[in-house]
């Protein structure tokens, strides 16, 4: 154990796990005591979903070093496929937590498949080009779901594009109704499920990063030519990070959508992708704990600022700028290093 603790990366992951568990225990006990405001209570599940979005994007941007601007697209795929599964299985699996898990797995699998398909052309590109193409894919996914109709009746699922040609029988139900999205969703997402999803994702990411594959991914990030020269398959390892990240985003999307009674494709637009990217940059590239804190704080902040009424979003933006400046100030970093012993050595690796 002592040996483990001395290992810097292991220590860092344990601190992250501990932080998440502690936050969960504290929040749950406040909620159980009845001392929690409904505004915070209502945000617990979305916070979990955004945290998963942030750490999964951090895997692509921070660990694999590719700028992706279409992450909300995977969230969208997860949301729509997962919710469709949850609705279709409503009678087959009456147990809500089990149905939630199945839905999240379905969402993750579909988002992973889409991630793989998108990855084939996208990962051949580098830098700015990749960023723009992922952005375009995010928009394509949005328009597909805006024009997709999925219905279910006694004969099974019916799918049509552009117009509603599902021709359902009388007992049928139109699940995805094009621009109207999905309505009448049973809200089965819970904070506990979100917490478990965060832990699972952290576990996958930390183990990936510390594995042979993870080192290969980071080697490609640091120097692609050098990595290729020692025989690392660039496409394979980039694809690995990209697909895992997409699958996690899909699960987050399912969790998010199952927390509201309705979901529309326009929710997962370019703005949402950028919002998640802000979480990642804010928390620090490659820093999972930072992403978690940033996602939670930046989700709560606009709500906490409601007292400012009209100036709310202006103040949100100002706070964002100030925090970015402050956290990058060398003086503050030096101060932190003095307050927290043992942090100094980490200061060098950024």
């Amino acid at each position: 154990m002592k040996k483990l603790w001395k290992n810097k990366t292991t220590r860092k992951s344990f601190v992250t796990y501990a932080f998440v568990v502690l936050a969960y225990v504290i929040l749950q006990s406040i909620a159980a005591g009845g001392g929690m405001k409904s505004s915070l209570k209502g945000m617990l599940v979305p916070i979990c979903a955004y945290v998963v979005m942030a750490i999964s994007l951090n895997l692509v941007v921070g660990i694999s070093g590719e700028l992706s601007l279409g992450h909300a697209g995977f969230m969208s795929v997860g949301a729509f496929t997962g919710v469709t599964a949850a609705i279709a299985l409503q009678n087959a699996i009456p147990n809500a937590p089990l149905r939630l898990v199945v839905a999240m797995v379905v969402g993750a699998v579909f988002a992973g498949i889409v991630g793989f398909l998108i990855g084939i052309p996208v990962l051949r590109l580098k830098g700015d080009y990749l960023a723009i193409v992922t952005l375009a894919f995010g928009e394509i996914i949005k328009s597909i779901f805006n024009n997709l109709y999925v219905g279910m009746d006694g004969k099974g699922l019916h799918i049509s594009l552009l117009e509603d040609k599902t021709h359902l029988m009388e007992d049928g139900r139109l699940i995805i109704a094009g621009p109207m999205g999905i309505g009448g969703i049973q809200k089965i997402a819970t904070f506990t499920a979100g917490f478990i999803l965060i832990l699972v994702c952290l576990f996958v990411i930390f183990n990936l990063v510390n594995s042979r594959s993870g080192r290969a991914i980071m080697a490609i990030r640091d120097n692609r030519i050098a990595a290729e020269s020692v025989g690392i398959s660039v496409t394979k390892y980039k694809m690995m990070a990209f697909v895992i990240s997409a699958a996690m985003a899909g699960a987050a999307g399912t969790l998010f959508a199952l927390n509201y009674s309705t979901v529309v494709a326009n929710k997962f637009d370019f703005n949402t992708s950028i919002l998640v990217l802000v979480f990642v940059v804010f928390g620090g590239l490659g820093n999972m704990l930072g992403s978690i804190i940033a996602a939670a704080v930046l989700t709560v902040l606009p709500e906490a600022l409601r007292g400012f009424a009209t100036y709310r979003m202006l103040i949100y933006a100002i706070v964002l700028v100030l925090v970015m400046l402050a956290t990058n100030s060398p003086r503050l970093k030096a101060l932190l290093a003095r307050l927290v012993p043992g942090r100094k050595e980490e200061g060098t690796d950024g």
Partner: protein, 383 residues
């Protein structure tokens, strides 16, 4: 410099904390006023609707509070036309101690908040969220506006009854809930009424600036009337481009067309002869309406649109229902909810958007739409 920044940051954070406390502190204030809450887009693309509702509700509350007797305490929160933010805003209102709700202004956010108000047993009367999903299956959700489908079928009926045209074209926005809802029932009712839909074209977000293809399609198929179930911003472009193309059918719009005359940079002469079905006419001679329009103009410097009128009516309908039910402000939200569910279907209400409005117990309103035609830059009632 860094020091200043840090201090500034700290100050902002502290203010944020204080503001957070400040807004929740008066929650325990007087039990003499009903706490009325609502959410709507005060910022973002749909801000025009949210602000109209907020402004009009404020006017109504001011008027009612000035009368003495029943008192309201209004709080309106921004939801940026997003379901997630709407639920957040709703929860904030719940923390504040909201007893009765104005739901949400726009349809999708309202669908999300209505699930919450239904679960929490807080009564909601939405001024303008017109989709059916808002009220269906929920006993304590009521609407002040028509549902989208009823606008479509009422328009088709009106066109057929008046014999305005036999060949009609529809241009609609296929990624918009509002437009699609009206379109579907319009087409269904039109075929029942013997109207022939000769051209059916669509547009979508990001593809809503050039309408030459849609206009040419309607023109080449000989449509005598073009039905535009959309908001006025897109409709204004269609009118402009059709006039350039030399096509002048009868234009027929629905309540989203309301506002086209006040659109900046739009040549209102192009809107001459446009017909629209809307429950509210700001130029009406009706005493109540005239007084409301005057007050709104004085206070906010613009002519109230239909959303504002619906919100104004909502507050007055609440006043009437609360008085009729013998409620008092110290009742809990759940008690008021039960009273309102019983009272609304039994009462008849006269407001600025209609006379003798009634509600069925499923939450939908029944009121007569008024067909207006634009003449000399104002709405004229088609009797």
């Amino acid at each position: 410099m860094k020091k200043i920044l840090c201090i500034l940051l700290a100050v902002v954070m502290v203010i944020g904390l204080l503001a957070g406390c400040g807004s929740s502190a008066p929650a325990t204030s007087s039990a003499t006023a009903y706490k009325l809450g609502g959410t709507g887009p005060l910022t973002g693309v749909a801000a025009i609707y949210g602000n109209a509702v907020k402004n009009a509700a404020e006017i109504a509350v001011e008027e009612i509070n000035a009368m003495g007797g029943l008192q309201f305490d209004l709080r309106f929160e921004d939801d940026t036309h997003d379901a997630e933010k709407a639920v957040n805003a709703y929860n904030t209102l719940k923390d504040w101690g909201m007893q009765i709700s104005l739901g949400s202004v726009t349809s999708k956010p309202c669908e999300a908040t209505s699930a919450e108000t239904y679960a929490d047993r807080i009564f909601a009367l939405t001024p303008s969220a017109s989709s059916v999903a808002v009220v269906s299956g929920k006993d304590n959700q009521f609407q002040m506006c028509f549902t989208d489908p009823s606008q479509g079928s009422l328009s088709a009926e009106f066109i057929a009854d008046r014999g305005l045209a036999s060949k009609v074209a529809v241009i609609w926005k296929n990624d918009d809930v509002y437009s699609k809802g009206i379109y579907e029932t319009f087409v269904a009712a039109a075929s029942e009424m013997g109207l022939e839909v000769v051209s059916d074209t669509t547009f979508a977000d990001g593809n809503d600036k050039d309408f030459s293809v849609q206009i040419a399609d309607a023109q080449s198929n000989g449509a005598e009337l073009v039905f535009l179930p959309m908001y006025y911003d897109a409709a204004s472009l269609i009118l402009t481009q059709a006039s350039t193309a030399g096509y002048s059918p009868i234009w027929f719009g629905v309540d989203g067309m309301d506002g086209i005359l006040t659109l900046e940079g739009f040549d209102t002469s192009l809107a001459e002869g446009v017909m629209l079905l809307t429950p509210f006419n700001a130029d009406s001679e009706d005493e109540k309406t005239a007084a409301f329009v005057k007050k709104y103009q004085e206070k906010f410097g613009e002519i109230p649109n239909q959303f504002a009128a619906d919100a104004y009516d909502c507050v007055y309908a609440y006043k009437k229902a609360l008085e009729a039910a013998g409620a008092n402000p110290s009742m809990s939200a759940q008690e008021l909810n039960d009273l309102m569910i019983k009272t609304f279907p039994t009462m008849s209400f006269d407001g600025v958007t209609g006379i003798g409005m009634t509600w069925s117990s499923d939450g939908t309103v029944s009121k007569r739409p008024m067909a207006n035609v634009i003449q000399n830059g104002t709405y004229v009632l088609l009797s």
